[in-house]
Each structure stands twice: as structure tokens, then as C-alpha cells.
């Protein structure tokens, strides 16, 4: 029981990170109907920016960790959002009226570019960071097995909940959110009623990338080690989460993220840790076969 609870805690923390990345996939899919394959790598770039920003701030003499983390968060969100914007501007916008396969191929190209850019610029070795957020609480003790809730896990879940709240408000209450929903339904009609479609799509990428940067920072703090390849596996898993929750649905992405995080954690805890990625990836196939519209999504109708 205690073991189960501990895994539950771990799974929720991991799932929150996947959920944050999944939101980027789901928003972009909702608005332009394409999978942004480079999103996983935007997350990776975000993690690297956070790492470098953190080291830079530390070396400048700021030792107050909470303030440093807030600064890092802001810097990472801003700079990663710039990457998201640039990727859209270079690789997707010119192809908006092109054939179906074209933006998918540029997305793969962008993913390769980002991975290899970081590999060339920062080296291929893994980058370790000593634990920044330490400590925690023991919430339960059964027969010598303590269930721990660490501060970093609390931080992850709190940040995710707050960001989810903020972004839900943006989508439902602001003019930008209204424009996004309008573009989702009918881009042509939205443009005719005065919505700046290009700008709205750009801002969607910016928002997705900013959330990916947060996920990158949390991942860095949680695992304490990153490399240029983390975006690949995390990207597929977050995408699985988005599909599982129903692609295009914001709460669905979060729910899917949590489920994928839990599946992965429990699989590693009770079966084999080597095959944890296989479990998450197989989930993708299972979901697509049995309920392709996901838990909270609407079935897709292709119009001619």
C-alpha cells in the first residue's frame, strides 16, 4: 500500500510534466491540424535554456534559490517562446497552403535541427545539475516503508495547476483565446471577421513553447540531468498523452499526461523498468485503435 502510494505520488509529478508538454501539441493540433513534431525538442531547448540561465544567475552571485528559480522561469519562458515563434515562422507558415505532407516533413527537419544544434553547441554528454530544491515531507509510514512527498514534487504539481488555470482563463476569457477558438473552427471565416490568423497561430506556438519551457525547467529540477536527446522520448509520450486525452482538448491533455505518467511509473515499479517506454508507446497504438478521439475529444470529421 505504501509502495503504491509512493508510486502514485511519483506518477502524478511525472504526469504533470508530460501534461505541460502535451498542451503544446494539443493547442497546435487544434488550431492548424498538424502534429508539431519539433515540440518535444522545443521542450529540450527549454530545459537547456533553463540550465544555462540557472548557472548564469548562480555565477552572478544570486544565491537566493526561490528568486533565482523565478528569474530562470521567466527567462526560459521568454527565450523558449522565441524559439517556438521562430520555428513556426521559418518552417510552418510558408507551407500553410502547401500539400499535406510538407509541414510534417519540415517539422521533422526542425526537430533534427534543434537536436543537433544543441548537440553541436553544448556537447553530447549528459548535463548534471546538483539538486536545487531539496527536502520534503513524510506523509505516511507503514512497516518501515516511508511515503515521501518531496518539495520538488509539490513544486511541480503546484506550478502545473497554476499554469493550467492561467491558460484555461486565457483560452476562455480573453480576446486572444476567442480568436484561437475561432481559428480552430474555421480559419477562413475567422479571417473574414477580422481575426489576424497568422498572429493567432504564432501566439499559439509561443504559448505552447512557453509551457514546454516550464516543463523543461521542472524536468531539469526533478531529474537533475538532461541531454540533447530528452525531447525525443518525452515528445512521443506527451503526444500520446494529448491523443489519449483527446487531441485539441486542453483539460484532455492534462488528464492524458497524468495517465501516461502513472502508467509509466507503475509499469517501472511493478514490471520491468527496461520496458517502460514500450508501455507508454504501446499505449499510443492501443488508444488509436480503440478510441481515436480520446477521452475528452470530439470525433474528427474530414470535410471535403
Amino acid at each position: 500500500m505504501a509502495y503504491f502510494l509512493q508510486q502514485l505520488v511519483n506518477g502524478i509529478a511525472l504526469g504533470s510534466i508530460y501534461g505541460l508538454i502535451a498542451i503544446g501539441y494539443t493547442m497546435v493540433y487544434g488550431i492548424i491540424g498538424m502534429i508539431n513534431f519539433a515540440h518535444g525538442d522545443i521542450f529540450m531547448v527549454g530545459a537547456f535554456i533553463a540550465l544555462i540561465a540557472f548557472l548564469l544567475i548562480m555565477s552572478l552571485g544570486l544565491t537566493l534559490v526561490p528568486l533565482a528559480l523565478v528569474l530562470v522561469l521567466i527567462v526560459a519562458m521568454l527565450l523558449t517562446a522565441m524559439w517556438g515563434w521562430t520555428v513556426e515562422r521559418i518552417a510552418y507558415r510558408p507551407l500553410r497552403e502547401s500539400f499535406r505532407l510538407a509541414p510534417l516533413i519540415t517539422a521533422i527537419g526542425m526537430s533534427i535541427i534543434l537536436q543537433n544544434f544543441i548537440q553541436v553547441a553544448q556537447g553530447a554528454r549528459v548535463k548534471p545539475l546538483q539538486p536545487v530544491v531539496t527536502g520534503g515531507y513524510q506523509i505516511f509510514n507503514a512497516g518501515g516503508f516511508a511515503v515521501n512527498l518531496s518539495n520538488i514534487q509539490i513544486l511541480i504539481v503546484l506550478t502545473t495547476v497554476v499554469l493550467m488555470g492561467v491558460f484555461s482563463l486565457i483560452i476562455t476569457r480573453t480576446a486572444l483565446g476567442r480568436a484561437q477558438r475561432a481559428c480552430e473552427q474555421d480559419r477562413m471565416m475567422a479571417a473574414l471577421s477580422g481575426v489576424n490568423v497568422d498572429r493567432t497561430i504564432s501566439l499559439t506556438f509561443v504559448m505552447g513553447a512557453a509551457l514546454a519551457a516550464v516543463a523543461g525547467l521542472l524536468y531539469l529540477l526533478y531529474y537533475g540531468v538532461i541531454d540533447f536527446f530528452i525531447g525525443f522520448v518525452a515528445g512521443i509520450k506527451a503526444f500520446t498523452a494529448a491523443v489519449l486525452g483527446g487531441i485539441g482538448s486542453l483539460p484532455g491533455a492534462m488528464l492524458g499526461g497524468l495517465i501516461i505518467g502513472l502508467i509509466e511509473t507503475f509499469w517501472s515499479a511493478y514490471f520491468t523498468i527496461e520496458y517502460k517506454d514500450v508501455a507508454a508507446f504501446s499505449m499510443l497504438a492501443v488508444v488509436l485503435i480503440f478510441f481515436p478521439s480520446g477521452l475528452l475529444g470530439r470525433p474528427e470529421v474530414e470535410k471535403v
Binding site: M34, I35, F37, V45, F48, I49, I52, A53, L55, S59, M82, W83, T86, I90, A91, L95, S98, F99, R100, L101, A102, P103, L104, I105, T106, I108, G109, M110, I112, I113, Q115, N116, F117, I118, V120, A121, Q122, G123, R125, K127, P128, L129, Q130, F232, I236, F239, T240, T272, E274, Y275, D277, V278, F281, L284, A285, L288, I289, P292, E300, V304
Partner: protein, 509 residues
Amino acid sequence: MNEPVKSLSHRLEAALLDALLAAYVAFALFCLTLGFKTVDSVGGLTLQSRPVLLAAVVGAVFVGRLLLNLFVWQTDRPLTEPFARLFTSEPLSRRDLFVLGAVALLSALASLVSPAARLVAGGVFAFLIVGAIRRAILHFFPNLPYARIFTVGGIAFAVLFPITSYLLEKAFHLGLPVRYLLDLSIVVLTYMMLGSGLNIVVGLAGLLDLGYVAFYAVGAYSFAILAMDFGWSFWMCLPFAGLLAALWGCTVGLPVLRLRGDYLAIVTLAFAEIVRIVLLNWTNVTNGPNGISGIPKPTFFGLPFGASGETFSAFFGLRYDPLHAIIFLYYVIFLLVIITNLVTLRLRRLPIGRAWEAMREDEIACRSLGINTTITKLTAFATGAMFGGFAGAFFATRQGFISPESFTFMESATILAIVVLGGLGSQLGVALAAIVMIGGFEALRHTQGLKVIFGPDFDPALYRMLLFGIAMVVIMVWRPRGIISSRTPSIVLERQRGSPRFLAKERRA
């Protein structure tokens, strides 16, 4: 970008503003990722600042954008026009000739000054010469079937190349690196085979398969296991390797082929990763990360290649030479490439091939005409997978050693880049792209000019995938049909309402 041309000061101002904005974006992108390098040291990671590199990159973006704005984008007579026109059959104006001449002269002068510029000048001259030759040939013989001449010439060269270079070397001892050239050609041909196989899936059927390397891996491992554990020969295993890969293709494809193309892409990616993880962990069959070694080489009608015993050289009364085995391997993969392309060529004429191409253009129209798109996709997927399996078996027998390391996503990405660059659906294009991208990179490694520019430790191999990625994006944005975009459509209307190139273009948004 298509604003009316304004006065010079206006243009200059707009260009400067735009370039400044671009430089600002570049600075935001690179200030942390490129401006600092994380270095391992005793007390954990430390940062090393690289202001010069950062300034150079941002400066290059500024200057490049400014020049593009001034001379290409915001003018009605772009400076790139003469270069583009060189590769058409339109007559060159006096201004075109002047621009081309000036560029040639400038690069010649620059190459006198610095050895680094020689590299650029070489590229410029190659471009100009190729353009001039192309124009001359088209001028004198406008109606020859060039694609066919090129194909036949290429095949003839490929057939003769190993034998002639081997005999020349044996007869005259010219010091040709025959062994190296043959090994490189075998690698190029292997990628050509993989590209041709993937081309069926991506280029003809329009299904984006990001996990092609899985079929390559299935082929390689099924050959290795059949050969090692059952003692089968290469030629017995080859069909099985293809068959097993095709079977795996069906298994992967069946569940997702009903869905939209994007899903297929990511599922294939996930499945390829599953295959790699299973290969890595299923130790008692695949030997895990240590891989399988000692895989037997193919035999020449039962005659092995070796120094002693009943071998190829003994049978034909030749003196033993390790090059014989390599030349034989070359012809094996060459044959496989030819078979793949001949089969593709024939399939394109069959109803199934027509259905593939129709499906690529418009799936809904296809379905409404009574084509079973699931079966059609599955056949394309399985056919592509089968050729991937053949290539895998060949890879295993040539290397003699395989491990999951060889079947990563980067391999899939390389193969996809070859197909995209060659032009989706163009067989000749894929062949050329394999030569340029695999062989060209090998050539870059031996180029001295690069070392002069970037320092003696410069290794282009590090930048290979980065350049492949950039090439994929640039090609898709600039020429979505690949470098060789004059792909002949399989069916053309009798009375053409547009040029064939127009018909070949996809109109779907």
C-alpha cells in the same frame, strides 16, 4: 514581400529595420544556447562564455538579412535572377551576363587572396560551369530523353566502376584507394536501396513513415539469427528477411492506417523505438547491447571468399585478394538496388501503383471511386518494408556485426532526408540524393578549405545531421518537389491544359 518598389531611402530604411529585427531575434535565440557552453568541471557544471561566436552568428544574420532585403526581396530585379535564369532555357539578358561575370571575377580575385575563399569560388565556378554546359547541351540537342540517358549512363558507370578500377590498379599500380572507394560506394548504394524503399511509402503512397529503420533492423536481425542459429546461407535468408520485415510492416500498419497520415507518422516513430528497445533488452535472442557478431558473408554460388580451401579464387584459378569479396558485395547491393527500382517502376504502371499515387493526391476522392484505401496503404507499407528488410540483411552480412546502435531514429531521419531531397516520388532523384548526401559528406571530410576556415579540429561529420535537417526544411519551403522537380507524372491528360510540371504539382491544401 511583394510591396511596390519605393524610393531608395525608403528601401534602405525598411531593409535596415528588418535586418535589425532579425538580428534581435537571433540574439534572443542564441544568447544562452550558443553564447555560453556548459563545461564539466570538478564542482559540477560551469559556464564558459563565447561572446565572439555569438557576435559572429548574430552579425551574420544581420548582414545576410540586409543583403537579401536589398538585393533579392525588396527589389523587382533580384540579384538571384541571373543565377536562376541560367538554369532555364530563356535567353540571358546583358545584365544577367554582367552579374554572372562579375560574380565569377570577384570569386576568382578573392580566391587569390585567401585559401578559404577558394572553397566558395570553387562552388561558384562549378555552378556556373554546370549551368553553361546544361544550356549548351539543351541548345544543340533540345529533345533528347535526358532522364533516360542519365539513368543508363549512371547504371553503366556503376557496373563498370569496380571492375575497371580494380583492373587498372592491378595493372598499373596507380595508387587508387580502390578499397576505400568500394566501401564508400557500398554504403552509398545501401542508402540508395533504403531510400528507394522508403520512396515507395512516402513518395508514391504519401504515407509519412518515420520508423523505416525498424524494417531495416528487422531484416538485419532476422538474417543474423537465421544465419547464426540455423546456419542458413545469405541467399536463403534474404527472402525471409524481406518477408519478416513486410510482416512487421503489416503488423504496425494495420491498426493505424485507417487514421489520418499524421498519426501514422508518430506511430511508426514509436514502433521503431519499441523495436530498438526490444532488441536492446531481449538478451537471449539478440544478445542485447553487445549485438551479434561473426555473421557469415554471402557466397558466390556456394563458393566462399577466403584464402584457403574451396574458395572463389581457388575455383577460378585466381590469386587470392580480399578485394574480390568487396567487389562481390558491391554487385550484390547494386543488384538489389536495380531490382528495387525495376519493381517500383513496374508497380507504378499496375493498378496498385496508380492507386498509391491517386491516394497520395486525394484520399477522399480515391475512396469515393471505390478504392479500398486501407488495403492500398497496407500494400505500400509492406512493399516498402520488404525492401527495407532486404537492405537490412545486406547490411548485416556486409558488416558481419550488428547491434541496436545502428538502428536509431537518426538513421530513419537520414533516409527520409534522402527521399525528401531527391524529390518525393522521383527514383532518379533518390539515387542522386543518396550519392550527394552520403558520398558528398565523405568528400567534405577531405576538403582542406573547411579546415582553413574553421580550424584544424573541424570535423564536418559532427554537422552532418544538422545540415540534413536544414536541407529538409529549405527544400520543403523552397522546392517542395525536391531538387529534381521535373518528375514525370504517371498519367497525363491527352490534351494538356498546362505543362506536365503543373500537372505533377499537388494542389491540395
